[in-house]
């Protein structure tokens, strides 16, 4: 069969690739040379993620738990059971006792229908994507300050950037295609500035690497803004024409002090000044940060946006702000309204005009009060109010950084799981609905640079599983909704009516080239390569004054090191797709061969001082807790800190407690564990 252009469904880059099939099996993958984002390149995951479709572990039939054991049942029985239970729980405890969570890997159509089902059929705004650790801070800050919660420019434009700032994201591991684009831009003359706590591969290639102390980003950006203002490098014509609240910002920035910031961040004042001058002087500078983790405070993101506005790096090619999404459709599920306080298109659910516009299309009422997010739902069942949870392709037991999700699921009256595979979460479900895989259905995803793309159907679906969006439609129909979608394309047509900036994104239009970047409207069906072109819009951007954060207190003498939790080099090893793709499983477990029990990372200087060698057992002592782990000695980690990858769940639970209070930095001391 002729190779078909489709979209990689692993990370947020959205690379274009061709799948070659033979006998209903993918036998070859290769990248599109013409695709504007990847231009003939894909990463290891792109080459192999299709293997999941042929995994022998795929679920084939709906499963219903009877007397504590799963039994294969018919679709009618499974969907009938769900319908009856949802109706009973809603009538007994009210619509807000139900919650609907999905994964940022769900398609736009699935995400749209799930939130529509929750809002219009059930009557609750308890909808959320992921497990509460994703891009909410980034969305809210960007919406507030620039009016668009997304990356402003295209990945392909990085080739035109004169300065590229990479903040806190290990591109080489997490978004390798973008990492490659950044390195190529640097080789072609761009200056590369890397800010972060880890010396990752892109940092190794940086012109300026600011290895700051954990949690000091706000201080650093404030100091950089001060340098830019002191040197007169701010773009006043841009600020006057396009921005508000500059004076308040200016007053606040004047309180920052370069030397104080240098001390607080743990990098030299010269380095901060050099980075500020390089960024401030560049005709076009791009700033990349990861939107995906909530360990970035809102103030630190505000400080980033302030810097972009100060230097006028919006509305031109090669510049802009990249709020990078690490899952393939994190941007899309947010666009589709999988947020407890926002309708599709990011309109607040509390806004009567916004509600009225959506209600007119859905022909039903939408609840007024914002719903619960996934964090309260999964950490304490919304203080016990939640009785049932629908989890679409979502695996919080494995991925949530919330302590005891499994324990919470066990206490629910109904858990519905939609997934390809029997995930750790699905084991706790009452009903499991098997879904189709990558390549078996035609749906759309939206990449990190707003590119809405078709993922084509190249395989006949395996017997049994059905598309997740169809399952939602059938349950809605069972509950009396007059939903008549015959295809995912019809769902996208309705999305075009509800989400103004998707109005031109019909399947026909998306199939013409390499998808379309939103805003893709009927008036501008070709989409938008970069936002804010031209001077239209008046003073729509807003500075936000960010007070100088207090200097971190002195490190307690008995706990001289700082424990940092985060995503490590090999964190994909626990991803359910990786675990069911033979090649990826092998590649992403390489490091685990050396550290079969996992590891925490120490800087070689600290290790030497403590007499700890690579691979030795150590014990971490915090004020009220301790945990055992294996040491991995690596210069990627900053001296003075110990890095705990999120997949080291035991360490996290023992140090932070079962509930996980969200603290990211914990003072600790380390002792070598006596050999057993």
């Amino acid at each position: 069969m002729a190779p078909k252009l489709t979209t990689c469904t692993f990370c947020g880059v959205g690379c274009g690739l061709y799948l070659e099939t033979q006998g209903n099996q993918v036998v070859g993958v290769y990248p599109s040379v013409s695709h504007p984002t990847n231009q003939g390149r894909i990463c290891l995951r792109g080459w192999h993620v299709h293997e999941v479709a042929s995994s022998p572990d795929r679920l084939r039939s709906p499963l219903l738990k009877k007397k504590g054991r799963f039994e294969e049942v018919s679709w009618d029985e499974a969907l009938g059971f769900i319908t009856t239970r949802l109706q009973a729980i809603r009538s007994q405890h009210g619509p807000d006792s139900l919650a609907f969570l999905n994964s940022p890997r769900c398609s736009n159509e699935e995400a749209y229908l799930l939130q529509k089902f929750a809002r219009s059929v059930i009557g609750t705004n308890n909808v959320h994507h992921g497990t509460g650790v994703y891009s909410n801070n980034s969305i809210n800050v960007l919406q507030d300050m620039i009016g668009v919660p997304a990356s402003t420019n295209s990945i392909a434009e990085l080739a035109q950037s004169e300065v590229i700032v990479v903040d806190g994201v290990d591109l080489a591991r997490r978004l390798p295609t973008i990492g490659g684009a950044v390195i190529r831009a640097k080789l072609n003359g761009a200056r590369l500035i890397v800010i972060g706590t880890r010396r990752h591969r892109v940092a190794e290639n940086a012109d300026l690497f600011l290895q700051i102390k954990p949690g000091t980003e706000t201080l650093l950006y404030g100091a950089m803004a001060k340098v830019i203002i002191d040197r007169g490098l701010m773009k006043l014509p841009f600020i006057k024409a396009r921005c508000r609240d500059y004076e308040a910002f200016l007053a606040e920035v004047s309180n920052y002090d370069l030397l104080r910031a240098a001390e607080g961040c743990g990098v030299s004042a010269d380095l901060i000044e050099a980075a500020a001058l390089a960024y401030g002087r560049a005709p076009s500078a791009a700033l990349l940060f990861s939107s995906s983790m909530e360990d970035r405070t809102r103030d630190s993101i505000r400080a980033v946006v302030n810097l972009v506005l100060l230097t006028g790096n919006l509305g031109k090619p090669g510049a802009g702000l990249f709020a990078l999404t690490e899952q393939n459709n994190l941007q899309g599920v947010c666009d589709m309204g999988m947020l407890p306080d926002r309708l599709p298109g990011f309109r607040p659910v509390t806004d009567p005009t916004a509600r009225a516009a959506v209600e007119a299309i859905w022909k039903t009422k939408i609840p007024v009060a914002p719903g619960l997010g996934s964090r309260p739902i999964l950490s304490n069942r919304g203080q016990g109010k939640i009785r049932a949870v629908w989890l679409a392709r979502c695996d919080p037991v494995n991925t949530a950084l919330l302590g005891d999700v499994a324990g919470q699921l066990l206490r629910l009256d109904l858990v519905v799981a939609q997934h390809l595979l029997m995930t750790d979460t699905a084991r706790y479900a009452h009903v499991v609905l098997p879904t189709t895989a990558f390549g078996e259905e035609e749906v759309t995803f939206t990449s990190t640079d707003r590119r809405i793309q078709l993922a084509e159907r190249v395989l006949e679906p395996s017997p049994g599983p059905t598309p997740a969006w169809e399952q939602i439609v059938r349950v809605a129909q069972f509950m009396g909704a007059d939903w008549r979608y015959q295809s995912a394309g019809e769902v996208m047509e309705e999305i075009g009516e509800v989400v103004p900036f998707y109005s031109g994104a019909s399947y026909e239009n998306l199939a013409r080239e390499y998808g379309r970047q939103w805003p893709c409207t009927k008036d501008h069906p070709m989409g938008t390569q970069f936002l804010f072109k031209g001077d239209e819009g008046g003073r729509s951007f807003k500075f936000v004054a960010v007070p100088e954060p207090p200097q971190p207190g002195p490190q307690p003498a008995e706990f001289p090191l700082t424990l940092v939790f985060g995503n490590s080099l090999y964190y994909w090893n626990q991803n359910v797709l990786v675990r069911h793709s033979e090649t990826l499983k092998r590649e992403y477990r390489i490091l685990m061969l050396d550290y079969p029990d996992g590891f925490v990372e120490l800087n070689p200087e600290d290790a030497k001082q403590l007499g700890i060698r690579d691979g030795e057992h150590i014990r971490l002592y915090a004020a009220n807790a301790s945990a055992e782990a294996t040491a991995r000695v690596t210069s990627e980690v900053r001296s003075g800190s110990i890095f705990v990858p999120h997949f080291m769940r035991e360490v996290e639970r023992e140090i932070l407690g079962l509930g996980g209070d969200g603290r990211r930095l914990v003072p600790v001391r380390v002792e070598k564990e006596a050999a057993a």
């Binding site: 002729a2 190779p3 252009l5 061709y18 070659e20 033979q22 099996q25 036998v27 070859g28 290769y30 990248p31 599109s32 040379v33 013409s34 695709h35 003939g40 080239e513 390499y514």
Partner: protein
Amino acid sequence: MKARVLARTDVLKIVDLLRRQGYEVIAPFRGRGRDTFFDTVTDQNRDHVQIHLPNPYYPPKRYVFPHIERLLKVERKNGGLHIEPTYEQPRRAIFGIRSCDVAGIFHLDRFYLGRDFRDIYYENRRKNLLLVNVVCTDLEAGCRRRMFLCVRRHRTRRPRPLRFAADGSGR
């Protein structure tokens, strides 16, 4: 061997001829934008075969050395296991293959056919393979960096002896 000159309009008749002779004919096609690919010629796509295209990014190596192939058939018979090798040996022709890819197949031959161990699966596919080579008339973007693999074939066959500097280091 005699040289023949074909009219431009008759070039695709080679494809028809090969198909009539029972070959599965693989030829280059245009995808989206500058993307091109090799695919099997059928009645439906025959008129879309093109040879003046950028060389497909995904090389034709898979037609002599596929990513996935069935090597053995194992059956339970008479209380034991009956193992039988399965050879895929279609009569296959690659029409429009470039010289660099031909050189690539030549290198595979050296490894799989030219040593003590002959890969019988590879050999079976190669025996039934017919190549219709298109020789580039102009240099494609990127060829310069690839060091003209198409014309370096002979150099590979007769590697230049290493010379040693006075200090013993190779150069």
